[in-house]
C-alpha cells in the first residue's frame, strides 16, 4: 500500500503526460499548461524540506557550540536577512536585494570559480603526462584550445583560431554527440524503468 500507491500515481501521471504529447490539439496544449502549473505549485513545497535540512544542520552546530559554530551563525544570519530583504522590499533592479546579489554573491561566485583555474592548472601539471599517444593528443588539443582563444595564439599563427574552431565544431562535437546519444538512450531507458516501476530507488528513505 505505502509503495503501491506512489507507483500507480507515477505510472498514471507519466502515461497521461506521454499521451498528451502526441495529441496536437488545443485542449491538449491547455492541459499541458495546467499540468506544468500544477508541477511548479507542488514543487514549491519541497523547498521547505531543503531549508529544514540546512537549518537543522546549522542550528544544531550553533546550539551545541560545535567547532566552527560561528560560521554556521553567519550562514543563518545571511539566509534569513537576504530572504527577508528580498521578500519585504522586492527584487527589482535597483533594490537592496539586487545590490547584495551584485556585490556579495556575484563576486564571490566568480572568484570561487576562478580559483578552480589554479587548482586545475596545478592538478593537470601533475596528472597530464604524455605517457601514450592518446594522452598526448589530449594534451596537444588542450594547449591548442587555450592558445587559439587568446591573442598570442593568433600572433603565433593567424589560422590557429580557425583551426581551433574547426576542432570544436567537428571532431569534438562528433565525440560529444556520440556520448550524448548514449546518455539520451540511457536516460530514456531509465525513465521507462521508473514509469513501469522497475526502478524504485526514488521510493526509498521513508519506511516501508
Amino acid at each position: 500500500m505505502r509503495k503501491l500507491v506512489p507507483l500507480r500515481i507515477c505510472l498514471v501521471c507519466g502515461i497521461v503526460m506521454l499521451i498528451q504529447f502526441f495529441i496536437p490539439h488545443n485542449y491538449s496544449q491547455t492541459f499541458f499548461q495546467y499540468a506544468l502549473d500544477w508541477l511548479i505549485v507542488c514543487g514549491v513545497f519541497a523547498v521547505v524540506i531543503g531549508l529544514d535540512s540546512n537549518f537543522r544542520l546549522h542550528l544544531t552546530r550553533i546550539i551545541r557550540r560545535k567547532k566552527g559554530w560561528g560560521y554556521s551563525l553567519i550562514t543563518m544570519v545571511a539566509v534569513l536577512s537576504v530572504a527577508f530583504i528580498g521578500i519585504k522590499f522586492g527584487i527589482g533592479a535597483d533594490s537592496l536585494f539586487m545590490k547584495i546579489y551584485r556585490n556579495v554573491e556575484v563576486p564571490m561566485d566568480a572568484t570561487m570559480f576562478s580559483l578552480l583555474g589554479f587548482f586545475m592548472a596545478s592538478a593537470s601539471f601533475r596528472a597530464f603526462k604524455a605517457k601514450n599517444k592518446e594522452a598526448t593528443v589530449l594534451l596537444i588539443i588542450a594547449v591548442l584550445m587555450m592558445l587559439g582563444r587568446i591573442p598570442i595564439g593568433y600572433f603565433m599563427w593567424d589560422k590557429l583560431p580557425n583551426l581551433v574552431e574547426w576542432i570544436m565544431m567537428y571532431p569534438n562535437m562528433a565525440a560529444q554527440r556520440g556520448i550524448l546519444l548514449g546518455v539520451g538512450l540511457g536516460a530514456a531507458a531509465m525513465q521507462l524503468k521508473i514509469l513501469l516501476g522497475i526502478e524504485r530507488g526514488w521510493l526509498g528513505g521513508a519506511g516501508d
Binding site: V41, Y101, V104, M108, S114, L115, I167, A174, R177, G178
Partner: protein, 207 residues
C-alpha cells in the same frame, strides 16, 4: 580608489576567497559560509517572487483558480517527511513530480538527444557538394559512429570493432582535451574579470 561601500564589500570578499590560495583561513571560511547563506536567501526570495506570488497567490486571489488547491495539497504532503511516522506520505508528491516529469521528459529526451543528433550526423548530398564541408561532415560522421562503438560493450573490442573503437578513443581524447582547454580558459577569464575589478573598480589603478 573607489568611494562606493559596495565596491569595498565586493573587494574584501574577493580577496577573502583568493586568500585560499595561501591556505585555508578564517577569512576564506567567513566568505564561504556567507556565500552559502546569501545564495540560499537569494533562492528563497526569488522563489517567493517568481513562483509563490505569480503562480499561487495571484491566481488564487485574483484569478479564482481554485484548482490550484489540489497541487498545493499534494505539495503539502512533502512536509510529511518532517514527521517520521507519516514520512511515507511524502512519496505521493514525489511520485506525482517524477511521473509527470518522466512523461514530459521522455519524448523530449528522445527528440533532442537521439533523433536530432542522428539527423545532424547523417551525410546528405547538400553537404557533400562542397569538398571542405564534405570532409568536415565525414570527420564528424566517423567520430560519432566510432565513439558509439567504443561505448558498445556487448561486442568484444577485437578485429574491425576493436579498430573502430580505437578511432573512437582518439575522438574522445580530442573532446576531453577541448573540454579541458575550454574550461581552463573560462576560469581564466573569470580570474581576469576579478583582477580587473580589483585594479580598476576598486583601486583605480587601471584605465
Amino acid at each position: 580608489m573607489s568611494h562606493d561601500i559596495w565596491v569595498w564589500v565586493a573587494a574584501f570578499l574577493t580577496l577573502s576567497i583568493l586568500s585560499f590560495l595561501y591556505k585555508d583561513n578564517p577569512f576564506y571560511k567567513f566568505a564561504e559560509y556567507l556565500l552559502i547563506g546569501v545564495a540560499l536567501g537569494y533562492g528563497i526570495a526569488v522563489t517567493w517572487h517568481s513562483t509563490i506570488i505569480p503562480k499561487i497567490v495571484i491566481p488564487l486571489k485574483e484569478g479564482h483558480q481554485y484548482h490550484l488547491i489540489i497541487p498545493m495539497c499534494i505539495g503539502l504532503l512533502f512536509w510529511a517527511r518532517l514527521f517520521p511516522k507519516y514520512a511515507w506520505l511524502s512519496r505521493w508528491p514525489i511520485a506525482f513530480q517524477i511521473g509527470a516529469g518522466v512523461g514530459i521528459g521522455l519524448p523530449l529526451i528522445l527528440q533532442a538527444d537521439v533523433f536530432k543528433q542522428i539527423q545532424g550526423t547523417i551525410l546528405t548530398s547538400a553537404i557533400l557538394n562542397n569538398p571542405f564541408n564534405a570532409f568536415s561532415a565525414i570527420v564528424a560522421f566517423v567520430g560519432v559512429v566510432s565513439t558509439l562503438i567504443y561505448f558498445y560493450f556487448s561486442l568484444e573490442h577485437k578485429g574491425v570493432v576493436g579498430g573502430i573503437a580505437k578511432i573512437g578513443i582518439w575522438y574522445i581524447m580530442i573532446a576531453f582535451g577541448a573540454i579541458f582547454g575550454y574550461t581552463v580558459m573560462a576560469r581564466m577569464s573569470l580570474l581576469i574579470g576579478r583582477f580587473q575589478f580589483l585594479l580598476h573598480d576598486w583601486l583605480g589603478l587601471m584605465r
